[in-house]
Symmetry: C2
Subunit: 344 residues, 2 copies
DNA sequence: CTGAAAGCGCTTACAG
DNA sequence: CTGAAAGCGCTTACAG
């Protein structure tokens, strides 16, 4: 019972072909016809049926946003949200809709293939996944274009939007070195994720370039969760570090919690730099110095690249690597703002 | 070039009708035919085209998840994420996909109508919105079913999944009363949202039932943001409350921040109860006593009700109101766990 | 500039 | 139990 193209044709007195042209803003229609049809469309509140349109045109104007389970659980930070916002925003601007696929542990295998092949979606954006995620295999056999957010060694030729995690970790560590810290520890991100590995790499590189050797006792393994930041800090404490580069703000929360319990002061006794710049970073006490990762912008770019690839299939795959930005606050002890804040 | 029904028909030697029946698990097909067709489907890795299916059947098996802009920005808490997870989970179980619509300030009006009427989506779930949101008007004229997460006075007959905010605020406040607190203040949620209003109501009701009169100097207006919790607490301090019911955990973070700055101890000097039970509530120092709102479950239920309504349009609209649950931790001073934790 | 017709990949009575 | 045929609401050559 919704209004169809045919209804518009009938009421306006033009053929379906002409109506279709007007709807799609194609040239080669008389002003008179365009006017009349536009009026009728307005008047009858007509909205084209996207399923029919997609079937006929062979393109649905839908983007699939794939969020692997692991990611959505680990990042209880606004990662997911900001990414969705970015993807959604750009997609809407270009008249695309977005379909969401959050992986379910059990159905994963079956369900992802269905999502990739049900013809509803013209291309995909995949939020950073674990290395070895079964989704990778499914992706390898899709004929449809996709863009990864966060690079994936198993898919070296894919289009990617990422931030330069090596450079970011390098800059964070170097900032600590420049402010005079000597024993710089780190709590790492998940070893199962590319970003985790890259952030360790940047940390080590910065130390080496500064002429220091990497001390493995100063490296605590984390997995991006708050809890791993908490335990990681306790693991490091006996080594008496005077600074810690923590591979995510979320873990920094945990580390703060540990430091409070033992009464160690930030930044006086120990300087902290995080990674991500989640909203709460600014409200921690002391406020957290961190590397800002432009997640929303990464979502925008991923959508842009993907839609371009959908519209022009011959486009080469693209890799866009953004630089994270150092946001200096109080926790590193180098800010003008930095008073001497004691944690308890 | 993807495999079609016709391909399966040809290879298997049966007609499209029979193949269609097998695909859809309909009865009245010989075992022999079913077997053969299933094999071919498997072998050719066939996935039905959902657009074609939807067009023919008049149902797309898609759910639209609408997240108003305001909500996605205010709740930088995992609200959005957990809700999506719940909706997504239940939808997938029932063979539905979910389309995401995050409102964009500019395009809102135009874009929402398109989303509601493009024929891609059989029904909608709307995450709690502001009162007076333009989406409400659009919703009033949809022929398609929808379910609200969070009730909406302007849509009194709609299906709703909500938690009982009045009861929750009541229980939170009463808990403080029972533990002996006398001057109980509150920092309210957004006045523009039903939940905000209901939580004030529950707070007031609890005081009255306890024989106390409501003192407006003990009510600070918040809007669910961390910052409003921070300023709200400063506003309350001169009134010397011995307890505060804070209408969201996010605001409780802000309130903690304020209390640290002035050196007031929780729970010794002041008891705090929050609302939501976001993941970080457990990791605050002291850990936050709060009312747990089962957001993910609300997402599950919303999807369940909606899909049922899509499949059986004659179903009456349903209202499911869940009870939030008191989670006692340290900040209220009544837990066995509660040591005497001093904030600084 | 406009229209008649075929076709996108399915489902669904209808006949047998 | 199986198949031929119409139809879902569009787009897109093709002809004029």
């Amino acid at each position: 019972m919704p209004v169809t193209l045919e209804d518009i044709a009938e009421v306006s007195g033009y053929s379906r072909s002409t109506v279709s042209r007007v709807i799609n803003g194609e040239p080669g229609v008389s002003h008179r016809a365009r006017q009349k049809i536009t009026d009728v469309v307005e008047q009858l509140n007509y909205h084209p049926n996207q399923a029919a349109r997609g079937l006929a045109a062979g393109q649905m104007n839908n983007i699939g946003l794939i969020i692997p389970e692991t990611v959505s659980f680990i990042f209880n930070d606004p990662y997911f949200q900001f990414l969705s916002l970015g993807v959604s925003q750009t997609s809407n601007e270009q008249d695309f809709s977005v379909m969401l696929w959050l992986s379910d542990p059990d159905l994963e295998r079956k369900s992802i293939n269905k999502f990739l092949n049900n013809g509803l979606v013209d291309g995909f954006i995949i939020a950073s996944m674990l290395m070895g995620d079964p989704i990778i295999e499914a992706l390898k056999s899709t004929p449809r274009p996709f863009v990864l957010v966060g690079r994936q060694p198993a898919l070296p030729d894919a289009s990617v939007v990422d931030c330069d995690n090596v450079q970011g970790a390098y800059a964070a560590t170097q900032h600590l070195l420049k402010t005079g810290r000597k024993r710089i520890a780190t709590i790492t991100g998940s070893e199962g994720m590319q970003s985790g590995i890259n952030r360790i790499e940047g940390y080590q590189k910065a130390l080496q370039d500064w002429g220091l050797t990497v001390n493995h006792a100063l490296i605590a393994k984390g997995d991006y969760t708050e809890g791993s930041g908490y335990f990681g800090m306790f693991q490091l404490l006996p080594e008496k570090p005077d600074a810690v580069f923590i591979a995510s703000d979320n873990m920094a929360h945990g580390a703060y919690r540990a430091l409070k319990e033992v009464g160690i002061r930030v930044p006086d006794d120990i300087a902290i730099v995080g990674f991500d710049d989640i909203p709460s970073a600014d409200q921690m006490t002391p406020s957290l110095t961190t590397m800002r990762q432009p997640i929303r912008k990464m979502g925008n770019l991923a959508a842009e690249i993907l839609i371009n690839k959908i519209n022009y299939p011959d486009t080469d795959s693209q890799r866009i690597i953004l630089n994270p930005e150092l946001v200096v606050r109080q926790s590193c002890g180098s800010s003008a703002l930095a008073g001497s804040i004691t944690l308890r």
